[in-house]
Amino acid sequence: MTVPLLHLDGITVHYGRMLALCDVSVTVRPGEIVALVGNNGAGKSTLLKAVIGLVRPSAGRIMFSGTSLDELDTATRIRQGIGYSPEGRRIFPGMTVRENLEVAWRGERAAARIRLAEVYQLFPALEVNADVPGWQLSGGQQQMLAIGRALVSGSRLILLDEPSLGLAPALTRDVFARIRNIASTGRAVLMADQNIATALAVAHRICVLRAGRLVAEGPARSFRGREEIAAALLTGEPNAARLG
């Protein structure tokens, strides 16, 4: 059994008085793609933010390749080898596409150049617009840029929050093929996705969150063909309209 790359142990997060995550434990091994699925407001984004240090858990521990991240700030965690693509296309609007990608470079230049070429191969639209300021990109292109920035960093662990949001179907497939490819080189991916079908198709393992709690976990194939079960897990309440 391989040593876990990321180990979350009993993570609890409060937003004010609201409990966003309650005692969630998740493990990600090298070469593994783990998808967090769950309703709106189930806590998927919060968990990713806790890993990268944008949210401080009120309880629980985060271990990354054997060292504790608990006391480290976001910048240090990123330098330790974690890449993050936030939800909602957070790019640097005043910087060009190339600058947006270059700020994420870590490690050797030569290797970074290869990764940049790979990102351009995956998203030709970014290469075409390399000298265009970020704000001029369309919504979907900004999403490509946010993902590209996480990929170009060469991080051992990549966190993707809703990567398929706003991407055309053909491109979504390309992105997930690329994620599979990255995992095959021993890097790991922890992603949040609203879409269960997508998550089942790309991930090795699925973690189902509901109202801040981990309610089910297992290999993706054990969920496949049982999508109605997964769907039922996600709704629970008769009224799907739950507050975040």
Binding site: S138, L165, G166, A168, A240, A241, G244
Partner: protein, 595 residues
């Protein structure tokens, strides 16, 4: 009545009692004059809140308006011997006229350019006051400004002047409160948060800002005139920058948008130097330190601090859900059905050298749901932006029921019946869901500034707007979130809230930019059912979406764009199978479980 309700009910009276007691306790002539100045500055800040707080524009003209009014009062009073009933209205009119003239070139400018330009205006006014000696008295200013009075009678200094000034401050406070509690007050809040969203509900933001600017100038005029009467002297000091800085600090320390904040800020900023007077040379350090501490402790002003303390004590206003009232049913249209609802003809748009749209034409009929698909960057959002007037077209035309709307401003297009939502949701996060929707009723209900007949009466259009908003929330299945601030909602509900706001505009055509993004399958199904239900009333929808299963379930027709051109139009199943669409959009690979 519970104890807590009693306490919160008594709070305003306690505040009022302190206000009355203060000048009775601190009653030396000097103290009374300082307290009179508190009243004057309160009026100045109340005015400044319109442009700085409500409209959210950093104008640095408030000091200049104040000084101009003081000079008008000074010159007319000291030089011509005119009395208060004549000079007072003129002192208000003068800065308002200046504001009108200044607003035309300046109000269009963006944030810091706007601040710089307004600062320049203040400097010009100061220069005129110093250099135009024959009229203004130059650097020495003008002495012998008469006190407040009429028909030969003059109010003595001390209590009478103080009472008069505070009486006017009270009236100003009522007026400000009355204006801002209406629907339009919420409109300001929306404009401040998102200009885009404000335009999308049909608000003429330029006009709103102009209105706020004029109100600021009028209040500054009142304050300036009273200042000249109280001090009986006018000197270039009233035009110096420190007046502006003081006013700005008062607004920040007190609270930017609330009436009570203006008074708290003015009181503290005027009194603090007096309290630190005993420190002699060091008083400025203590003063500066106190202000700094205040900004750290109460970043949203003293009012915000009081709110937080109140919330801690459980003194929260109780919300009662207004009884939902449906929107008026649309009047039968007198247009012949042969004219399509929307027709887009030969639309072309270039950004730099890149063609974003190239000769795009399509039509949408009443009650139809048209899906707009295409690869990323193919021009879908640009197309919606042009139809809604946010982006001008280079060529081609957009017609709504036969009428050319290509060159109409965004707010006019909304008023003609075109509503939209945004890819990145634009809501006011600290406003409740109910109010986020209610504010969109503004143009339909014609809720002017403070339409209620008396200040104590509930603003009638706002009340109706809330009840109609409750109906829309109910229709979208989120009535239980009515009093939740929009910022607390999860993505799916935020999208629905934006749709509810768009529906509040009673549109004929609704354009949705990726409504299913970030929703899971169950929520998508729910949304699909609700969207289909909307067209029974003849509403047409244009839906941009990458989620093809979602679109297939609701759309009557699909339009596929690629690189700015329409490559396919037709029944969803036909477009789905079109080889060009498959190559450009779906990708050549067979379906493998991925959407």
């Amino acid at each position: 009545m519970s104890r807590r309700a009693l306490i919160s009910g008594l709070m305003p009276f306690a505040g009022l009692a302190c206000l009355v007691a203060w000048p009775l306790v601190f009653n030396s002539p000097y103290d009374l004059r300082v307290f009179t100045l508190v009243g004057i500055y309160s009026i100045l800040v109340l005015g400044y809140q319109f442009i700085f707080g409500h409209a959210g524009a950093l104008a640095l003209t408030q000091g200049a308006f104040f000084g101009i009014a003081a000079y008008v009062t000074g010159i007319l009073g000291a030089k011509f011997g005119w009395s208060f009933p004549v000079t007072f209205p003129l002192s208000i009119v003068a800065p308002v006229l200046v504001a009108v003239v200044v607003a035309i070139p300046v109000l269009r400018l963006e944030s810091h350019y706007f601040a710089l330009a307004t600062l320049g205006i203040a400097q010009v006014a100061l220069l005129i006051a110093i250099k135009w000696e024959s009229v203004t008295g130059g650097a020495n200013g003008l002495a012998g400004v008469p006190g407040i009075g009429a028909f030969g009678l003059v109010l003595p200094r001390g209590y009478p002047t103080l009472a008069f000034v505070w009486g006017i401050a009270g009236v100003c406070a009522l007026v400000a409160w009355w204006l801002m509690r209406s629907l339009r007050g919420r409109a300001f809040q929306l404009m401040r948060t998102s200009e885009l969203a404000a335009m999308s509900i049909g608000l003429d933001t330029a006009r709103l800002r102009f209105l706020a600017f004029l109100l600021s100038a009028a209040f500054a005029g009142i304050a300036g005139a009273l200042h000249a009467h109280t001090l009986r002297v006018v000197s270039p000091e009233v035009l110096e920058f420190h007046v502006m800085v003081t006013c700005l600090t008062m607004a920040v320390i007190g609270g930017r948008t609330r009436v009570v904040g203006a008074f708290l800020g003015a009181f503290l900023l005027v009194q603090l130097p007096e309290w630190f007077r005993f420190l002699e040379h060091y008083y400025l350090i203590a003063y500066g330190g106190a202000l700094l501490a205040m900004i750290i402790v109460a970043p949203d002003g003293l009012v915000g601090l009081l709110d937080r303390i109140g919330a801690r004590l459980g003194l929260r206003p109780r919300h009662t859900l207004p009884a939902p009232v449906p929107l008026p049913s649309a009047a039968p249209e007198d247009v012949t059905a042969e004219v399509p609802l929307l027709s887009v003809n030969g639309l072309t748009k270039r950004f730099g050298g890149v063609a974003a749209l190239e000769d795009v034409s399509f039509q949408v009929d009443r009650g139809e749901i048209v899906g707009l698909i295409g690869p990323n960057g193919s021009g879908k959002t640009t197309l919606v932006n042009i139809v809604t007037g946010l982006t001008p077209a280079d060529a081609g035309e957009v017609r709504l029921m036969g009428q050319d709307i290509t060159h109409d401003p965004a707010f006019r297009i909304v008023q003609r019946g075109v509503a939209r939502t945004f890819q990145l949701i634009e809501l006011v996060d600290d406003m409740t869901c109910l109010e986020n929707v209610a504010v969109a009723r503004l143009t339909k209900l014609g809720a002017g500034f403070g339409r209620s007949r008396s200040p104590t009466e509930v603003d009638a259009p706002f009340g109706l707007a809330k009840r109609q908003a409750a109906h829309l929330l109910e229709r979208l299945g989120m009535l239980e979130a009515a009093f939740e601030p929009a910022g607390n909602l999860a993505q799916g509900l935020r999208r629905r809230l934006e749709i509810a706001r768009a529906l509040a505009l009673e549109p004929r055509l609704l354009l949705l930019d990726e409504p299913a993004a970030g929703l899971n399958e169950i929520e998508q199904q729910d949304l699909a059912i609700r969207l289909k239900g909307l067209r029974t009333s003849g509403l047409a929808l244009v839906v941009i979406e990458h989620n093809v299963p979602f679109l297939m379930a609701i759309a009557d027709r699909l339009v596929c764009l690629n690189a700015g051109r329409v490559i396919a139009v037709g029944k969803p199943s036909d477009v789905r199978a079109d080889p060009n669409v498959v190559a450009a959009y779906f990708g050549a690979q067979p379906a493998d479980g991925l959407p």
